[in-house]
C-alpha cells in the first residue's frame, strides 16, 4: 500500500525502540537513526521466505505447541484469546501478527538488566565459561533424577521419525535442575530466555553442527572425512575449534566409530580355525546390521539437512529433528553391541574351539545385563554352527572332521602310544581322547562323555569291525540337523544315538567277533579250566620238558598240543577257538629246562584285542605260567608219590630201622606238600577264577552294557585273579606272595629230587643186598662186600640230612606264608590260610622284622619239630 505510511511507521518504530542517547550529539543520533532505517528497509524489502504459509491456524498451532511445551497453563488462556481474536472483524493478517509474536517470543526484557549476558566468543573466558557450563550440565545429567526422562527420550528416539521434540516433562525437569535447586518463581522464563540466548549464539561454532552432521555417517563407518579425520588406526582427530559440549558429544560418537574400525579389521584378519572363522562371520553379520543402522541414520541426516533453514538460530538444526545429541542416543544401543563384540574379539585371540564357545556362552548365561545376554545368545546361534557340524559328523558318522582341533574330542598323538607300551595299537583306547579344556560350557561333562563314546563306537564299528555299511545306513537314517538352542531335544537325540550305537557294538562283539566265546576259551585253556586237556598235555609233554630249554622244538610242542586236543574234550570246541591255541617257548635263559620256558598261547586279533588288551594277555600269561608251575609240581610230586607207594611193596623194604624211619618222614613231608599244592590249586581255580568269572558274567550280561563297561569288567576280572591268586606285586618284592610261593615250589621240586635220590639209593641198596645175599649163599667167605658197604652209609646220611633240611625249611616258609595270609584284608585269601591249616598242624608265624626272618624261625622250628 502506501509506502510512505510504512516509512512513517518504521520511523516511529525506530524512535520508539531505540532510545536517544542523552550524551550523544544530535548528528550522531540522527546518523544512528538513518543507519537503522536503512537496515530496516533492506530487511523488509528482501524477498519473503517461502517457508511461511499464510494460514492463520499454522501460526496459532506453532504458538500453542510452544506454550504447551513451556507453560501448559498459559496455553488454555492463549486459545481463549485466540478465539476472541478470530471473532474480531478488523484485522486482515491475523496469522501474520501471530507469526510475528511467535517470532518475537521469549525476547529479553529490555527494562530489567539481562540475567545472562551473552558471552561473546571473542572473549578470553569464553571457553572457560562453556566448559564450566558443560561440567555443570554433565554433573546434572548424571543425577538419578534425569534417568526417567532419558528413558523416554530413548523411546522417542527409536520411533521411526526420531525425536520430534523434547518431551515437556524433560523440559520441566531441566528447569527444576537448572540452578541446582528449584525456584518457585519465574524460573520458566529464565530457562526460555537462556535457551534463546544459547540458540542465538550457537551458530558461531566452526565447523558448524550441520557440517559435522554431514560427515558423521562416514565417521561412524570408520571412514575419514574432512572435519573428522582418522589420524592413525585408532585415533580420531576432532576439530580443535569446537566448544567443549560438542567435543564431549563427539567423544561419545567416536566410540562406535573406533570400535567399528577395530572390529572390521578383526573380521578381515585371517582366522585360525573354523570356529574363529564363524565368529568373524557372525561379527561381520552384526556389523552389517550396524551399517544398516548407520545408513538409516544417514538418510535421516540427509533429509534433515536438506530441509535446513539457514536463517534460523543454530542454522535451524534444532527444528530439523536430527542433532548430534540425537545421533548419540540413536547409536547408543549399537555402541553397546560393538563394545561387547570387541571384547569378545579381543578375548578370542587367546582361545580356540570349545573355549571360544564357552567364552561367549558365559556372556549369554551369566552376564547380569539382559541386553548383553540377549546379544550373546543371538551371536551364539550363528557362531556355533561349525561346532554343531563337527558334533553331527561325530555322533552320526563317527568321523572327526576337525582340521583345527577345536572339538573336545581329538586324536591322540601317536608318539604317546609307543612310550606307554601298555596298549600299542589299541584302537579303542588310544585313537581318540577327550580334551577336558575344550568342552564348551553349553555341554555338561556327562554329555561330553556320551558324545565321545558315541563317536568312538561308530568309528570303531566302521574301521575296526569293518561294518561301515551299518554306520552309513545308520547315519542316513538318524542324521539330524543340530543347532544351538534346543538343548533338551539335542540331549534326547544324543541319548538315542548312544543307545543305538552301543547296542550295535555289543551285538557285533558278541555275534561277529565271538568275544564271549573267546573269553570262555581263555578261561578254559589259559586258566586251566579244561582239566582233562591240561592233564593230557602235561603227561605227554613231561618227558620232553625235563630236557634243557635249548632242546625244545616247536614242532614237537605243537604236535603234543594237537595230541592233547584230540585226546580230550577240547576236540569238540569250535575250530575258531582251537585255531588260536598255540604252544611255544618263552625266551630262553641259561640253565633253564623246558618247564620254565613252556607256555600256551591264545591269539587274539583285531577288534577283540580292545577288550583283551596286550596288558590283559600278559596277565593271562602270568596266571598261566603260575598255574602251570603249580600243576607241574603237583604232577612231579604225584609221580614220585606213586613210585614210592609201589616201591614200598618191593624194592624199598629194608631191615635197617634208620632207613625205614627216613622213608616214613619223607612220605609225611610229601603228603604235606601234596596237600599244600592241592589246596593252592583248589583255591586259585575255584575260589578265585570261578568266582571272578561269575562276576564278569554278571557284569557283561547287563542290559545297557557298553564296550567300555565290558573292558572295565574284564580288566577288573583279571585284576581280581592276579590279586587274589597271590600274583599281585603290591608289597615289596621280597615278601610278595609270588616270591614266597616260587620259593616254596622250588623247595618242593628239590625235595622231590632228593626223594628221587633216596629212592635210587634204596634201589641200589636193595640190589646190593640181594647180590650180597646171592653171594653169601654161593660164597660165604667172600669179603669183597666190605668196600661198597663203606661207601653206602656215607651217602645215606647226607641224603637224610638234606631231606630233613628241605622239609623243615618248607615248613618254615609255609608257616610264614600262613602268617601273612592270616592278616590279609581279603577274606578269600584268609580263607586259603584256614583251608591249608584246617587242623592247626602249623603255627603261623607273623613276621615282624624283615631282616633275616627265615634263619631264626627256621632254627626255632627245627628245635621244636
Amino acid at each position: 500500500m502506501a509506502p510512505d505510511r510504512i516509512t512513517n511507521a518504521i520511523d516511529s518504530l525506530i524512535t520508539h525502540i531505540v532510545p536517544s542517547d542523552p550524551n550523544a550529539s544530535e548528528e550522531a543520533t540522527q546518523e544512528r537513526h538513518d543507519t537503522c532505517f536503512e537496515l530496516v528497509k533492506s530487511i523488509l524489502e528482501s524477498p519473503p521466505s517461502p517457508a511461511i504459509s499464510s494460514d492463520v491456524n499454522h501460526a496459532s498451532d506453532l504458538i500453542k505447541r510452544k506454550l504447551i511445551q513451556s507453560n501448559p497453563s498459559q496455553a488454555l488462556r492463549f486459545s481463549n484469546l485466540y478465539s476472541r481474536l478470530l471473532s474480531l472483524p478488523v484485522l486482515e493478517h491475523k496469522w501474520a501478527i501471530l507469526y510475528l509474536l511467535y517470532q518475537l517470543a521469549d525476547s529479553p526484557d529490555p527494562n530489567e538488566p539481562l540475567p545472562l549476558s551473552p558471552v561473546k566468543p571473542s572473549a578470553p573466558n569464553y571457553r572457560d565459561a562453556i566448559s564450566r557450563d558443560v561440567i555443570k550440565r554433565q554433573g546434572r545429567e548424571r543425577t538419578s533424577k534425569t534417568t526417567r526422562h532419558e528413558e523416554e527420550q530413548f523411546k522417542d528416539a527409536f520411533q521411526p521419525e526420531g525425536l520430534k521434540s523434547l518431551p515437556p516433562k524433560v523440559k520441566e525437569a531441566k528447569q527444576v535442575d537448572e540452578d541446582g535447586e528449584p525456584r518457585p518463581e519465574a524460573p520458566k522464563r529464565d530457562v526460555s530466555l537462556k535457551s534463546t540466548l544459547l540458540a542465538n549464539n550457537y551458530s558461531e561454532i566452526d565447523p558448524s553442527e550441520s557440517v559435522i552432521l554431514r560427515d558423521l555417517p562416514f565417521t561412524l563407518q570408520g571412514l575419514s572425512s574432512t572435519t573428522l579425520p582418522f589420524v592413525k588406526q585408532y585415533t580420531l582427530k576432532l576439530p580443535p575449534t569446537l566448544p567443549l559440549p560438542l567435543v564431549s558429544l563427539l567423544h561419545t560418537l567416536a566410540e562406535p566409530s573406533l570400535l567399528f574400525r577395530g572390529l572390521d579389521e578383526f573380521c578381515k584378519s585371517p582366522a585360525k580355525g573354523l570356529l574363529a572363522q564363524s565368529l568373524r562371520a557372525a561379527i561381520s553379520a552384526e556389523l552389517r546390521s550396524y551399517l544398516t543402522l548407520i545408513a538409516t541414520l544417514e538418510g535421516q541426516i540427509r533429509r534433515a539437512l536438506a530441509s535446513l533453514d539457514e536463517d534460523a538460530p543454530r542454522a535451524g538444526i534444532g527444528k530439523a529433528g536430527v542433532t548430534l545429541k540425537r545421533c548419540v542416543v540413536w547409536t547408543r544401543e549399537a555402541t553397546m553391541g560393538l563394545r561387547l563384540m570387541s571384547l569378545i574379539a579381543e578375548e578370542s585371540e587367546k582361545k580356540k574351539g570349545g573355549q571360544l564357545v564357552s567364552l561367549i556362552h558365559s556372556f549369554s548365561s551369566s552376564h547380569g545385563d539382559p541386553v548383553v545376554a540377549a546379544f550373546a545368545e543371538r551371536l551364539l546361534g550363528s557362531f556355533t554352527r561349525p561346532f554343531y557340524d563337527i558334533l553331527r559328523h561325530w555322533i552320526y558318522d563317527g568321523e572327526l572332521s576337525d582340521p583345527y582341533q577345536e572339538f573336545f574330542v581329538r586324536e591322540k598323538a601317536p608318539s604317546e602310544d609307543s612310550s606307554k607300551g601298555k596298549g600299542a595299537g589299541n584302537v579303542w583306547e588310544d585313537k581318540f581322547e577327550i580334551a577336558k579344556d575344550m568342552i564348551p560350557s553349553i555341554t555338561t561333562q556327562d554329555f561330553a562323555q556320551k558324545v565321545f563314546l558315541i563317536g568312538k563306537s561308530l568309528n570303531f564299528i566302521r574301521h575296526s569291525c569293518g561294518d561301515s555299511q551299518w554306520v552309513e545306513d545308520y547315519s542316513k537314517a538318524a542324521s539330524k540337523e543340530l543347532r544351538y538352542g534346543d538343548t533338551a531335544t539335542l540331549e534326547t537325540w544324543i541319548d538315542e544315538a548312544y543307545k543305538t550305537t552301543m547296542k550295535r557294538l555289543i551285538e557285533l562283539m558278541a555275534n561277529k567277533f565271538h568275544l564271549f566265546e573267546h573269553l570262555q576259551a581263555l578261561k578254559n585253556y589259559i586258566l586251566l579250566g579244561q582239566g582233562d586237556f591240561i592233564a593230557l598235555l602235561m603227561e605227554s609233554l613231561a618227558a620232553n620238558l625235563d630236557r634243557p630249554a635249548g632242546a625244545q622244538y616247536r614242532h614237537t610242542l605243537t604236535a603234543q598240543l594237537e595230541h592233547a586236543i584230540r585226546g580230550s574234550n577240547a576236540q569238540y570246541d569250535s575250530p575258531e577257538v582251537l585255531r588260536r591255541l598255540d604252544a611255544r617257548m618263552l625266551q630262553l635263559s641259561h640253565g633253564d629246562i623246558g618247564w620254565d620256558c613252556f607256555t600256551l598261547e591264545y591269539k587274539i586279533d583285531a577288534p577283540v584285542d580292545v577288550v583283551v588288551t596286550e596288558w590283559g594277555n600278559r596277565q593271562y600269561l602270568k596266571v598261566f605260567n603260575f598255574l602251570w608251575r603249580i600243576k607241574r609240581v603237583e604232577f612231579a610230586l604225584l609221580s614220585t608219590w606213586r613210585r614210592c607207594m609201589t616201591g614200598v611193596r618191593g624194592v624199598l623194604q629194608s631191615s635197617d630201622p634208620a632207613v625205614v624211619q627216613a622213608w616214613k618222614s619223607t612220605r609225611g613231608v610229601l603228603a604235606e606238600m601234596i596237600h599244600f599244592v592241592g589246596q593252592l590249586q583248589y583255591y586259585i581255580l575255584f575260589e578265585v577264577i570261578e568266582s571272578s568269572w561269575g562276576e564278569l558274567q554278571k557284569r557283561i550280561q547287563k542290559e545297557d552294557c557298553t564296550l567300555d563297561d565290558l573292558i572295565q569288567a574284564h580288566t577288573r576280572y583279571l585284576k581280581d585273579i592276579t590279586h587274589k591268586g597271590l600274583l599281585g606285586a603290591k608289597q615289596d618284592d621280597r615278601t610278595s606272595y609270588m616270591v614266597q610261593l616260587g620259593e616254596i615250589l622250588r623247595l618242593m621240586l628239590s625235595y622231590r629230587n632228593s626223594v628221587d635220590g633216596l629212592y635210587s639209593w634204596s634201589m641200589s641198596d636193595f640190589t646190593r643186598r640181594q647180590e650180597a645175599d646171592i653171594r653169601s649163599t654161593t660164597r660165604h667167605d667172600d669179603d669183597a662186600a666190605l668196600p661198597p658197604a663203606d661207601q653206602v652209609p656215607s651217602e645215606f646220611p647226607a641224603l637224610q640230612e638234606r631231606l630233613r633240611q628241605l622239609g623243615s625249611s618248607f615248613r618254615t616258609r609255609l608257616q610264614i606264608l600262613l602268617g601273612d595270609l592270616a592278616y590279609q584284608p581279603d577274606v578269600d585269601m584268609r580263607f586259603l590260610g584256614v583251608a591249608m591249616n584246617f587242623n592247626d598242624v602249623y603255627q603261623p608265624t607273623r613276621r615282624k622284622t624283615k631282616a633275616a626272618p627265615s634263619a631264626g624261625s627256621a632254627a626255632a622250628n627245627v628245635s621244636k619239630g
Binding site: 531505540v18 542517547d21 474480531l88 484485522l91 501471530l98 510475528l100 525476547s107
Partner: protein
Amino acid sequence: MPETDKHAAAQQAVDILHEISTILNCELDRRTLSICISMIERGVNPEALAKVIKELRGAAQEVEHNAAATARRR
C-alpha cells in the same frame, strides 16, 4: 457508527494481541505492538518485521551500553 465500532474493535484486537504477546514474553509495549499491527496490515512480511525488531533492540542495547559506558567514564 461503523468508524467508532471499527476503532473499538481495533482497540480490542490490540488488547488481545498484547495479552498474547505477554504470554509469549515478547516484551512488546502497546505502542510498538500497534505500530507492528499497522505495518503488517499494510502487507509487511512478519518474519522480516520480527528480524527488524530484533535488530533494533540490539541497536538500542548498544546505545544503552554506550550511554552507561560514557556515564561510568565520567
